[in-house]
């Protein structure tokens, strides 16, 4: 076995996994709070990739070259606009269906997903778009022929993902807002009786989810450089898989699920076969669900007597 390949794949897997984790957070939080799978979440991520490109284009038009400012401003602007997207989607497509049967918001979510894809396709064109590398260069460890390479943007990606997840965990566990989110997640009606504005908490959760997907979108776009209007689908499915793998509804579960999925995908493509990496990822999901139907960190559903 080549240890440098193992190391390289672990690094790649960590980067990929933290992205899956970031997006999975949106699925798992929305599921936790209103019991709905937000199929449009992957497309929110896709929109954020376009927002990143637009933002970078505008900034470089005004002659900004410093990578630090480019990245920071793009992150802030994209997260702001994508949060606005998340909030509007919830208000327009899900809130009117709050008290309808469970399937209705699901269909509505698929509708939103189609609308977003087509709206981006019409306004931005169907061609694959690309952004230039902003932060070239890499750290290299090892000898001339056998080395592990970590690009600067990968380092940034891993660091930003972990900081975002840490901040999010802190918000949910320690702040007053997080406490309300957890209360609404357990019993929305009871929370309302205690004076919590549940609609506002649900909106906040959508905003947080979209912001996380936005961060992922910025980082991935800067890392890979190319995207088109349909990238949301496969990434969304993968992130959803990560959420289910970790136990949907569980925040640490989504992060763990993301890392496991990313690692296993990248190790499999490094050592076995690149074409079958998705097959491996989904087989892993099936295996986990056979032995732990509620996911790795999910709580088993107890029948109420």
């Amino acid at each position: 076995m080549d240890f440098h390949i193992l190391g390289q794949q672990l690094v790649n897997g960590l980067a990929l996994g933290s992205i899956y984790g970031l997006i999975a957070v949106g699925y798992t939080m929305v599921y936790g709070i209103i019991g709905m799978i937000n199929f449009a979440h992957g497309d929110v991520y896709m929109v954020s990739a376009y927002l990143t490109a637009i933002c970078l284009a505008i900034l470089s038009y005004f002659g900004m070259v410093s990578p630090f400012f480019l990245i920071v401003i793009t992150l802030i602007v994209t997260v702001f606009f994508i949060a606005l997207y998340g909030w509007s989607i919830e208000r327009i497509a899900y809130k009117p269906l709050r008290n309808s049967p469970r399937l209705a918001p699901l269909i509505s979510a698929i509708g939103v997903s189609l609308v977003l894809q087509n709206y981006v396709q019409v306004s931005q064109g169907a061609k694959t778009q690309a952004v230039p590398t902003i932060l070239p260069g890499a750290f290299r460890f090892g000898t001339e022929t056998e080395f592990i390479q970590i690009t600067y943007i990968q380092v940034l990606l891993i660091i930003v993902s972990f900081i975002s997840m840490a901040v999010l965990t802190y918000i949910i566990q320690k702040t007053s807002l997080g406490r309300q989110c957890r209360a609404v997640q357990q019993d929305a009606k009871m929370s309302a009786i205690l004076g919590i504005n549940t609609d506002r908490i649900i909106s906040t959760v959508f905003i947080i989810g979209a912001a996380m997907a936005g961060i992922a979108g910025v980082l991935v776009t800067m890392n890979y450089g190319s995207f088109d209007f349909s990238v949301g689908f496969i990434t969304g499915v993968k992130a959803f898989t990560a959420a289910v793998l970790g136990g949907i509804g569980s925040l640490p579960g989504a992060m763990l699920g993301g890392i496991i999925l990313g690692m296993s995908e990248s190790l499999f493509s490094g050592f076995v076969n690149t074409d079958y990496k998705d097959v491996f990822a989904f087989s892993l999901l099936v295996l986990v669900l056979i032995f732990r139907p509620s996911g790795l960190l999910g709580k088993p559903l107890v029948e109420k007597v």
């Binding site: 918000i171 007053s176 807002l177 406490r179 309300q180 357990q186 205690l194 004076g195 609609d199 906040t204």
Partner: protein, 305 residues
């Protein structure tokens, strides 16, 4: 209500406005009339009991008053803390034809449709407990009490994340209030356990503590003595008196334990088949032939109106 009952309620003069005014409350579920033209008042700082045989509609009255259900017809007004609140309007009602010619009424209705909801009832000063305890089982005992106080708390996301001075002060105050109530309810030792793990009797007390943490003017207790042993019931009646005397709340309770009802309440409303069949002081109710008939059953002709 006559002057005599008012005197027993300890209310001086007839001009004191009632805290809660239920007028012609009707609740229909499809073809079933659960409540039919129910009217009664609750005087400030009184203990009022709502009794009746099983299925009489007592809990439905509670559900309407606390914003759990939207009443079909009738008026519910709360006169607490110097302001009058229409408890039905704040839930967000349907538009009436007359609204289309009255812009002010239209605007008000639209406002409550968009921003109203059950939480507004809690803001107006109503809190409740449930017959089947509805705690946030996955939150700790203290967190249950903190969540209930959030109306009075700093819940800004950014200040919470950065833990500003104002935020910490507001959290500290909330913790003090929470521990005060734990002390009153004898739950201090359980403070950091999960609410769902507590023994039944403690869960009941915790639920009352949580309701009190919203700083209500009116607290609605739905069968607080259900499942308690005689000693615990006695403690409960002391506690209810204490809430009224020391914490200046008005108590409205549903209870099947007649010993408890007769000993603590000043005013009793009897419901049967969704209608008020009697109301008055415990003495009057004890001897009321209609009430006896409803509870014990009589031949049809024996009932004299």
């Amino acid at each position: 209500m006559n002057a005599e009952t008012l005197a027993t309620n300890g209310v001086v003069g007839e001009s004191t406005p009632a805290l809660l005014n239920v007028d012609g409350l009707t609740m229909r579920f499809g073809g079933i009339i659960a409540l039919n033209n129910v009217s009664f008042t609750v005087q400030p700082h009184s203990i009022t009991a709502l009794i009746g045989p099983n299925g009489a509609g007592k809990t439905t009255v509670f559900n309407c008053v606390t914003g759990f259900y939207k009443a079909t017809e009738g008026k519910l007004s709360l006169n607490a803390g110097g302001k009058q609140t229409d408890l039905r309007k704040v839930l967000g009602e349907r538009f009436q034809w007359s609204d289309y010619v009255n812009p002010k009424a239209f605007g008000e209705r639209l406002y409550y449709k968009a921003f109203g909801g059950s939480h507004r009832v809690a803001l107006a000063g109503v809190a409740r407990t449930f017959q089947n305890i509805r705690l946030f089982r996955e939150l700790t005992v203290v967190e249950n009490l903190l969540v209930a106080q959030h109306i009075h708390l700093d819940r800004n996301l950014i200040r919470g994340t950065l833990r500003t001075k104002g935020y910490r002060a507001s959290e500290r105050k909330a913790l003090e209030t929470a521990y005060h109530w734990l002390d009153v309810m004898n739950l201090t030792e359980d403070a950091n356990r999960l609410a769902g793990e507590l023994p039944y009797g403690n869960q009941r007390r915790l639920e009352i503590a949580r309701a009190m943490c919203t700083e209500p003017k009116l607290i609605c207790l739905d069968e607080p003595a259900a499942g308690l042993n005689p000693r615990e019931t006695e403690d409960l009646s002391k506690l209810i008196r204490k809430l009224r005397d020391e914490h200046k709340v008005t108590v409205l309770l549903i209870e099947h334990d007649m010993g408890l009802v007769m000993s603590i309440s000043e005013h009793i409303v009897v419901l049967d088949y969704g209608q008020v069949i009697a109301c008055g002081s415990p003495k009057e109710i004890e001897t009321n032939p209609k009430v006896l008939a409803a509870y014990l059953g009589t031949e049809a002709e024996e009932v004299v109106s």
